[in-house]
């Protein structure tokens, strides 16, 4: 470890590794730190990802693909099943990853591009100079270090401290966090070609239960609900209840927990000398909780903007607006839409969910596009169309808010 770099990236998840790799490839001197001893472990993820989107960042490798699914099955509270092809299933369906291996592959690619990596190294604060972030305080094996850099990138996940240290309020309200428990289970009976989603206000209030195939007869069986519906430890109890009913013979071989930001867009993701990426910038999808692709997409952009800023010798928040504006205009819009759809979804009763399920039961969704699906829903549910009028109002409101916040 040196005492000075062009860029320091805090957090070696997919967002951090891609940021670091992008910057190093363009010639920057980059340090990537990870507070854990092991990159990629423990996993905090259901591990589903869209094939096509993923392939734009890394060549698919059987070493980190656990399973390949062809679609999803959504179950309404009364058990009505809707089957959707991969195309319609969104960013979380396609490959089922082995994140422990995947995250390391990404870190290795960063290393191959020239990034210096330090594990078991935790950022404990930021170095500041005349209103600019200019490095980090770090701890490694009990020793404290001060490491300077022109730019710091906080890719430090939902528990991000980097943003807070820089004066960005990254705290979330419980209602804006999806709190999750997941078991990797074996000895269970399920279709290994489909991801299952189970809906219902009793089984998973304001959320869903998933069964994602992981190969060799095993699956990630998990639950996520918003924090306002959670009370002391209730999330695990809800999952246990489902498991008891659905997989009575199942054996749990891994038990993980995690939180996912499901909020409106963060107010700002840059200050002088600093950018936030991924969960640290609340860039996960508020409706599905998916965040791998989003983080990689934003990380690549942050890496590119970082290079431009350093080459221009201007790392001011004003210059870094290039990143802010770009992620908001594309990803941010999608996230806002997902947020309002999620808020609508949260208000649906079991009866509503059943009605929606019944209305789609006879529709062939294998090759349907998303607009096609919406049209089928509208046709069958006049009431839904009426309800959705609020969404369009909400979209306008969100746009107004974001314009005011970012000033674009």
């Amino acid at each position: 470890m040196k005492d000075r770099y062009d860029m320091i990236v805090v957090g070696a998840g997919p967002g951090g590794s891609i940021t670091a790799k992008t910057a190093a490839k363009a010639g920057l001197d980059v340090l990537l730190i990870e507070k854990r001893q092991q990159i990629g472990d423990p996993v905090r993820c259901a591990e589903g990802v869209n094939k096509e989107l993923l392939s734009t960042y890394i060549k698919p490798d059987p070493a980190w693909i656990s399973a390949d699914v062809i679609g999803s099955r959504i179950f309404s509270p009364d058990g009505t099943m809707i089957e959707m092809g991969e195309k319609l299933s969104g960013a979380e369906v396609g490959y089922m990853l082995e994140r422990k291996v995947f995250d390391r592959a990404l870190a290795r690619e960063a290393a191959n591009a020239g990034v210096e990596i330090m594990v078991k190294t935790r950022a404990t604060g930021l170095l500041m100079n005349e209103g600019y972030v200019c490095g980090i305080k770090a701890q490694h094996m009990g020793n404290n270090y001060e490491i300077k850099s022109k730019i710091v990138v906080g890719a430090d996940g939902i528990e991000s401290k980097v943003g807070r240290w820089a004066g960005i309020d990254t705290s979330l309200k419980p209602i804006d966090v999806c709190t999750c428990v997941q078991y990797l289970m074996t000895n269970i009976d399920f279709d290994p070609e489909f991801c299952e989603f189970h809906l219902g206000t009793e089984i998973a209030p304001s959320g869903y239960i998933w069964v994602f195939p992981k190969g060799n007869g095993s699956a990630n069986v998990g639950i996520g609900i918003t924090g306002d519906k959670s009370t002391n430890g209730s999330v695990k109890k809800l999952l246990d209840k489902f498991v008891e009913r659905r997989f009575p013979e199942g054996i749990i071989i891994e038990f993980i927990v995690g939180g996912v930001p499901v909020s409106r867009n963060i107010k700002r993701a840059v200050v002088n000398g600093l950018m936030l990426v991924g969960d640290a910038a609340h860039q996960s999808d508020p409706l599905t909780g998916g965040g791998i692709i989003n983080s990689m997409w934003a990380g690549e952009m942050a890496g590119r903007v970082g290079v431009k800023a350093i080459n221009a010798n201007d790392v001011s928040a004003e210059f870094l607006q290039k990143y802010e504006k770009e992620w908001r205009s594309e990803l941010g819009r999608d996230l806002s839409l997902s947020y309002i759809v999620k808020e609508r979804f949260r208000k649906l009763t079991d009866e509503d969910l059943n009605t929606l399920g019944h209305s789609l039961e006879s529709v062939d969704l294998k090759n349907l596009s998303l607009p096609g699906l919406l049209w089928a829903l509208f046709k069958a549910n006049k009431k839904l169309l009426w309800d959705l009028r609020h969404i369009f109002k909400d979209i306008k409101e969100i746009k107004d808010i974001e314009k005011a916040e970012v000033g674009i």
Binding site: K35, Q37, K173, C180, N232, V235, G258, G259
Partner: protein
Amino acid sequence: MAVSVNRNKCGYCGACVSVCPPGALELIETWIEVDDACNNCGICTKICPVGALEVAK
């Protein structure tokens, strides 16, 4: 008094850190640390998926 963490239950996911208004919690590798900024509001106890946090009495 500060919130207490049952390390035997905690899955060190960091969800509690994200909702802590004063930023009193930190996830360090495999444990949660609570600093003096904790005002005992209890928001973290609600979000914890396994019920590992308790407001000290």
